[in-house]
């Protein structure tokens, strides 16, 4: 009995949670006439690719895709490098104020772009990075969750590994590249996946930094075309949304365990 109640509960919840996704994807395949007809149809009656064609042609989606990919890939490479090195330095280095600095990193977990929007904009502007894709990359390089994860990971590398290499006469630089870096493969994988997804999904930073259409990222463009005078037809907007969630779905399905485990530890999205 309890088993059936559980099953029914799960099915109802699943339907509710997938309702927005299903209805949007289904509607993205409706033609202009059908999407604005009343009452709404649950399945597209005359499936059409009109929305997709409009999104790709009229909305310059490929330009936004190129911008987004550039930002996501470059930011991910720099984030991974600085976080792996930074985690190593903060976990294994000796210096005055080590504990304070480590605590500071934990505190930054709570300072997201939404909280410091205005000063962030002023600093990016001062650096001359407004309407520049680097203005979307550099401020995003330091991610609190990434840094925190890297420090935790590096703490678990046994000191003996490092010490024995030192005794053998290896330089600090060589120790990092020959021992620490190869040991960090799981960390690098996790950081790359997270960083790419964060940058792909980001909205706040592009909204602050970019106001030229040719530099829009996908998510910024998706938000802007909804508010435009005259309005973009809903089937185009939904086709656009559907296309932008596909890559995150693929990454998610491929690396599910990273998301389900990793983020629970970090707990916050950045």
């Amino acid at each position: 009995m309890a088993r059936y109640i559980k099953l029914i509960f799960l099915i109802v919840m699943l339907l509710l949670y997938m309702l927005p996704v299903y209805y949007s994807i289904a509607s993205s395949f409706k033609g202009l006439k059908e999407i604005y007809s009343y009452p709404p149809t649950v399945f597209p009656q005359n499936p059409s690719l009109q929305g997709y064609i409009e999104a790709l042609r009229k909305q310059d989606m490929l330009t936004y895709l190129r911008n987004t990919l550039f930002v996501a890939v470059v930011a991910t490479i720099i984030t991974v490098m600085t976080s792996v090195m930074g985690g190593y330095g903060l976990a294994k280095g000796t210096f005055i104020g080590k504990i304070t600095l480590n605590r500071l990193v934990v505190m930054t977990l709570f300072i997201t772009a939404q909280v410091i929007m205005v000063p962030l904009f002023v600093i990016i502007r001062r650096l001359g990075l407004i309407n520049n894709l680097w203005g979307l990359i550099l401020p995003a390089v330091y991610t609190p969750t990434g840094m925190f994860t890297a420090i935790q990971y590096m703490r678990d590398i046994p000191d003996e590994f490092l010490e024995s290499a030192k005794v053998d006469g290896a330089s600090e630089w060589a120790i990092f590249w020959k021992i620490v870096f190869p040991l960090s493969k799981p960390l690098i994988a996790a950081l790359s996946i997270f960083s790419f997804t964060w940058r792909w999904n980001d909205f706040v930073l592009p909204l602050l930094v970019v106001n030229k259409r040719s530099l829009y990222t996908l998510q910024l463009a998706l938000a802007v075309i909804q508010g435009e005078f005259g309005g973009t037809p809903w089937n185009t907007i939904l086709a656009f949304s559907t296309l932008t969630i596909i890559p995150t779905l693929v990454i998610f399905l491929l690396f599910q365990r990273f998301f389900m485990r990793g983020i629970t530890a970090g707990g916050l999205k950045y």
Binding site: L14, Y17, T82, G86, P119, I123, V141, E172
Partner: protein
């Protein structure tokens, strides 16, 4: 005798430079610049406590805080009990529960703008599927995004939808750490499933519960993209949450100094949430 500083620390320098320029400097500048009047074009003018005095009288600022509190009161209970119920059903490591978990987690890792857009379409007054279902069931359609209270509730549903996956995974981690013996001991004493859960398992989840609550509060409190796309703060100012109000003050009215002063308050509240969360986590 250990050296006070060694060269290994140098590996942290690039990360620390980014941390300094894009996190610490902004936080620090918030406190300094909140004492200036500035429109970005002319040089900032020192005005002492003026911004803060104005803040005390700005009814829209206090409205934004009140909106956030209302949102929290609507959202946090849903964000607690729905993920808890799902976690109780799905905490065992079976293929079935792993597949279902993925579905509930998916909205959390979708781009916020795309997810919100889909929600907006579902909630559309005359073209949305939800009102169509409500009408087919014989009720009158809900003006989701057109009236203040339904609009707040819509944001609350959106946040719950988006956060369930994360919070459910926190509960699952918590539930899996409760040793099976506790359940068995309670069963032997003749407790039914419901009693076992409420009197044995649930109290053991105390830390998880607190972690879920603080995480939910932090997410709701600083949500920007969701509100921006779903309602834009409207109708009127009814869903104008604090970050959105700060954004509008700074980037549509260009009252930068005043926006800094509001950021001080926002930052302090975030800081309080942070400290409470960290306390919980360290336990």
């Amino acid at each position: 005798m250990k050296k006070l500083i060694n060269s290994r620390f140098l590996f942290a320098v690039p990360a620390l430079v980014f941390l300094f320029i894009f996190v610490l400097l902004p936080v620090f500048s918030v406190f300094v610049m909140s004492f200036f009047s500035w429109d970005l074009l002319s040089p900032p003018k020192f005005t002492g406590w003026d911004n803060f005095l104005r803040l005390l009288e700005d009814k829209w600022f206090w409205n934004s805080i009140w909106v956030s509190i209302k949102l929290l009161m609507m959202t946090v209970p849903m964000c607690f009990f729905v993920p808890l119920a799902l976690a109780v059903c799905l905490y065992k490591e079976t293929t079935f529960s792993k597949i279902l978990r993925a579905f509930f987690y998916w909205p959390y890792m979708m781009p916020a703008v795309a997810g919100t857009t889909m929600f907006k379409w579902l909630l559309s007054y005359d073209l949305g599927l939800l009102n169509h279902i409500i009408k087919s069931a014989g009720f009158s359609p809900v003006p989701w995004l057109l009236k203040p209270t339904p609009a707040l509730f819509a944001i609350s549903l959106l946040r719950t939808w988006g956060m369930t996956g994360l919070l459910m995974m926190m509960f699952i981690t918590g539930l899996q750490s409760v040793p099976e013996e506790f359940h068995e001991a309670a069963r032997v004493d003749g407790a039914n499933r419901w009693q076992t859960f409420w009197y044995v398992t649930f109290p053991l989840l105390k830390n998880t519960n607190l972690l879920v609550l603080t995480t939910a509060i932090a997410h709701v409190f600083r949500d920007f993209a969701g509100v921006y796309v779903l309602t834009g703060g409207g109708p009127g100012y009814s869903t104008m949450v604090t970050p959105l109000y700060i954004y509008n003050t700074a980037f549509t009215q260009w009252r930068i100094g005043y926006a800094y002063a509001m950021s001080v308050v926002f930052l302090l509240v975030s800081f309080v949430i942070a400290v409470v969360t960290l306390r919980v986590r360290e336990r």
